[in-house]
Amino acid sequence: MKSKILALLGSTLLTGTAMAGGYQVNLASQRQIGMGHTGTGLVTGTSSIFFNPGAMAQARNGVTIGASAIISKIAYQAPESNNTIMADNPTGTPFQVYGVYGITDKLKAGLGVYTPFGSTVNWGNEWNGRFGLNELSLKAIFVQPTLSYQVTEKLGIGAGFVYSTGGVNLKRSIPLEGSEGEGRAELDGDASGFGYNLGIFFKPTEKLSLGLNYRSQVDMEVEEGTAEFDVPASVQSRFPANGTSFKAKLPLPSTLTLGIGFNPTEKLTLAVDISRVGWSAYEKLRFDYGADVNGSNFTENARNYEDVYIYRIGAEYNVTESLALRAGTYLDETPVQDGYLTPETPDSDSRGLSFGLGYSINENISIDASFLYINKKERTDASNLSGGIGGTYKSIAYIPGVALNYNF
C-alpha cells in the first residue's frame, strides 16, 4: 500500500495546475479540501502544520500522506472569433506529507512537505498566442519544520520555517520566421526561497475555536537559469549562439487567514476561513539575461496583481464512529486586474465546491478522500497591459484526492 502511494508520488510532476487565484494551489489536506479547504480555526490533525501551527500542539502524533490529481481544462477564444482552443494541460499532482511528534505533552515538533504553488499550462505552439506562451511549468515544494507549544489549555502557538525548492520552465515562439518555421525560446531554471508560517490557536469553549495564521511571502529566485533560442540562421547573431543564463524572481504571496471552528453538536463541525492573499507583491515578470537577446538584456512585463480575499465555509458530520462526511464551498477572488490577463494564469474569480469522506479503519489508520470542483468565471480581457493574449478564457477543474493517515 505504502509503496503504491510512494510510487505515485515518485512519478508525479510534483506540481499543480494553478487552480486557485493566480498560481496558488490550495490543496493542503484531503480532509480539509472536503470541507472547502477551511481549517485555520480547527485542529485539523497533522495538516495543522500548514493550516495553523498554533493548533499542531493538539494534534495526535502521526503521519499523513496524500495527493490530488488536478484535471484542469482551459478554453480560449480570440476576440471576434468562433474558434475555441483548449489548453492541453497535463494532470497536476500536488501532494502533501505531514508528520507530527510530541516532544513533551505541550511541545510538539512537525515536518510538512507540500506544494502550495505551481502551474502547468500547455497551449502548444500553433495557437494565436504562441508568441506569448507555448507552455509554462512552475513548481514549488515547501519543506516546513515546525514547532508548536500549548501555552494554556485554551491557547496554542506555533511557528514553522519554510524552505521552498522548485523551478520554472517556459517555452514560447519567437515571431521570426525561417524556412524551417518560427523561432523558439526556452527558459529553464531551478529556484528556491525561504519563508515562515506562524499560527495562534484559541479555544475559549468546548464548542468554539479560533485561529489566526500567517504564511509569509516566499520569493522564489532563479539564480542561474538557462535560456536557449532557436532562430533562423541569418538573425542568429542577434541571439546568444549557445544560449545564455538568466535570473528571475517570482513572489509566492503571503496569506493571512482568520479561521473559526464551531461544534453545535458532538457530531457536527462547522468552519469558516477568511484569507487575505498578498498578491500585490507580484508586480512584474522580469527575466535578466546574461547576454543581449535580440537587442536587450532583459524582458519585463507588468503583472500588477492586487491583494484579494478568499472566503471559505465547510462542514464535517460524523455519521458513525468511523465514517465522516464533508462538504464545503469557497469564493476565491482573482488577483489579476483588467488588462493584465495572461495565458500563463488566465485567472478570474473562482467558485469551489467540495465533498469528502473520512473512514477510520481502526484506532490508528484512517483514509480521507476528497473531490473538488472549481469553476472560474468566463473572462474577456484585452490583455493590453501585460503583454498577454487578448480574448475570452474559461477554466474549470476536477480535483479528486486521497490521503492515508497513520496515528500513534
Partner: protein, 463 residues
C-alpha cells in the same frame, strides 16, 4: 484496507475519466451573415486584391490574398466554398514588366538573402529570387492554373477607371498601353472589362478596393509629373477627384444593380508605406572633414547656400534643375538606396527629383487622397455599403501596434505588415486587412463573420 484504497482510487480514476469529457465552453454569439448574403462573393481591386507581394504575383501570395481569406471566413456564415482565383503555376512569379536595355523584362519575386551590398557590406537584403524573364513570353507561359470565372478580379496596376475600360484584357492593347498583361491572363474575352466580368458572375456580395494606384503612380514617380492639360496628358498625375468619384460611382452602380451588398475600402496615405519611409531625408552622415570638403565643393560651383556639417545631413536633391537640401517631412524613395550608399548621390551630386517626394508633391498626394476618400465614403453611405477605413488602419500601422505578442509597424522587412517590395502586404498583412474588412462588414450588416487568426499567415521569411 488495501481493498478500500484500491476501490476509492479506482472510483476517483473513473470519476476523473468521466469528467475529462466535460470541457468548459465559451459563451459567444454564433457566427451569422446578418443582413448580408455571401453565397457569391467577388473581389475587385488592384495588386493588393490580387495577392501581389514581394514585387510579384505568385501562388502563395494569391492563396493568402485578403479576398481569399475573406471567402474562407465568409464560408463560416453561408458563403460559397468555391472561391476561384487566376492562380499562378507553382514556382513562377510575375512582377510588373519594366523596360531594360535589352527590351521589356519581368522582375521576379523578392526574397531575403545574406549578401554583400554595393559597398561590400554583408547583410540581409531583398533580392530577386531568380533571373528576370522576357516579356511578354513570361505572362503567356503563366496561364491561370484554376478555371474561371474568377471570384478574385484583382488586377495589379489597375487604377479606378481601368476597371471600367473595355479591352483592358486585350492582348492587342498591350503595345499601346490600353491593356494590362495581368488582366490579359484571365479576361473572358479581349473586349471585356473587369467590371463586366465581375457583374457577369451575379455576385451577392462584393468588395471594391480601388484607387491606390490613382495616386500611387504619382508617388512612385517621385511626383515627377505635371498636372495634365487638354493638349498634354500626364498619365502619372493623380486622377482628377471629380472623375474618380464618377468612376467609383459607376462601378458601384453596376455591382449593386441586382441588389448585391458589399464593402468599399478607402485609400491609405501612400506616403506612409516603407517604400517612402525607409530612407530618412537626413540619412547622410558625415565626418567633419567630409562636411568641409562637400561644402567647399558646392561653393566652388556657386552653390554656397548648400552647406554640410558633421553628423546627420539632409540629402541634396535636384529639383526643377536647381540643387537644394531636402527638408524635414520630405521623403526619399526606396530605390535610391544604392545611389546614396555607393554613388555619392544626394551628397557629391544631387539625387534626381524622381527619387524624392517634396513637400509640395506630398501636399498633392494628400489632397487627392483626401478627395478620393471623401468620395468613397459618400458612395458607401449612399448605397448602404460597408466602409473599411484603410487610411486610418495604415496610420495605426505607421504608429506601430502589438497584437498576439507580435509588433506590427510600417518598418521595412521587420515590420511584419509589408512585404519585400515595401508597398504590398505580407501574407500576415493581407490577413490583417481581411480582418479590417470583416470589422467593417460586421458593423454595417449586423453580421458576425469570425475574424481570421492572422498569426497563421507568414511574414517575411528569414534565411
Amino acid at each position: 484496507m488495501k481493498n478500500f484504497i484500491y476501490k476509492s482510487g479506482m472510483l476517483a480514476l473513473f470519476a476523473g475519466t468521466l469528467l475529462t469529457s466535460c470541457d468548459p465552453e465559451i459563451d459567444a454569439p454564433n457566427p451569422t451573415a446578418g443582413e448580408a448574403n455571401f453565397s457569391k462573393y467577388v473581389a475587385l481591386g488592384n495588386s493588393l486584391t490580387a495577392g501581389f507581394a514581394d514585387g510579384a504575383l505568385y501562388l502563395e501570395g494569391q492563396q493568402s490574398s485578403y479576398p481569399s481569406i475573406l471567402a474562407q471566413q465568409f464560408a463560416e456564415v453561408g458563403g460559397g466554398t468555391d472561391f476561384r482565383q487566376p492562380l499562378m503555376p507553382a514556382g513562377v512569379s510575375l512582377g510588373s514588366p519594366v523596360i531594360a536595355a535589352t527590351g521589356a523584362e519581368v522582375p521576379q519575386k523578392r526574397i531575403l538573402k545574406v549578401q554583400a551590398d554595393c559597398a561590400g557590406v554583408v547583410g540581409l537584403a531583398p533580392v530577386e529570387a531568380g533571373a528576370r524573364a522576357a516579356y511578354p513570353a513570361a505572362f503567356i507561359g503563366a496561364a491561370p492554373t484554376q478555371q474561371g470565372p474568377y471570384n478574385n478580379m484583382g488586377v495589379p496596376g489597375a487604377k479606378s477607371f481601368h476597371l471600367l475600360a473595355p479591352g483592358y484584357g486585350s492582348p492587342a492593347g498591350l503595345a499601346n498601353g490600353t491593356a494590362n498583361p495581368f488582366f490579359v491572363r484571365f479576361a473572358t474575352s479581349p473586349a471585356t472589362s473587369v467590371i463586366a466580368d465581375a457583374v457577369a458572375q451575379n455576385p451577392t456580395f462584393f468588395t471594391l478596393w480601388i484607387g491606390n494606384n490613382d495616386v500611387l503612380g504619382y508617388a512612385l514617380a517621385g511626383g515627377n509629373a505635371d498636372a495634365p492639360t487638354a493638349e498634354k496628358p500626364s498619365p502619372n498625375y493623380p486622377t482628377a477627384p471629380a472623375a474618380f468619384g464618377q468612376y467609383i460611382g459607376a462601378l458601384v452602380q453596376q455591382l449593386t444593380a441586382k441588389g448585391a451588398k458589399g464593402a468599399l475600402g478607402n485609400i491609405p496615405d501612400v506616403a506612409k508605406i516603407p517604400y517612402f519611409t525607409t530612407i530618412p531625408y537626413n540619412a547622410l552622415v558625415l565626418t567633419a572633414e567630409q562636411a568641409t570638403q562637400l561644402t567647399a565643393g558646392y561653393k566652388a560651383q556657386g552653390l554656397g547656400h548648400i552647406t554640410f556639417t558633421a553628423g546627420a545631413n539632409a540629402f541634396v536633391v535636384l529639383e526643377d534643375g536647381m540643387p537644394r537640401k531636402m527638408v524635414a517631412g520630405e521623403l526619399v524613395l526606396l530605390p535610391a538606396s544604392d545611389l546614396v550608399k555607393c554613388q555619392g548621390k544626394g551628397s557629391m551630386s544631387p539625387l534626381g527629383d524622381e527619387y524624392v517626394l517634396s513637400a509640395a508633391e506630398l501636399a498633392i498626394i494628400k489632397q487627392h487622397t483626401d478627395a478620393y476618400n471623401a468620395a468613397i465614403k459618400k458612395i458607401a453611405d449612399d448605397n448602404g455599403l460597408a466602409h473599411a477605413d484603410f487610411n486610418a488602419y495604415l496610420n495605426k500601422v505607421s504608429g506601430g501596434f502589438t497584437l498576439n505578442g507580435v509588433t506590427y509597424s510600417s518598418t521595412f522587412v521587420s515590420g511584419n505588415v509589408f512585404s519585400l517590395d515595401g508597398i504590398h502586404f505580407t501574407q500576415r498583412g493581407a490577413a490583417l486587412a481581411a480582418n479590417e474588412f470583416i470589422g467593417a462588414i460586421n458593423a454595417k450588416y449586423n453580421a458576425r463573420v469570425p475574424k481570421v487568426d492572422e498569426t497563421q499567415y507568414s511574414t517575411v521569411v528569414f534565411p
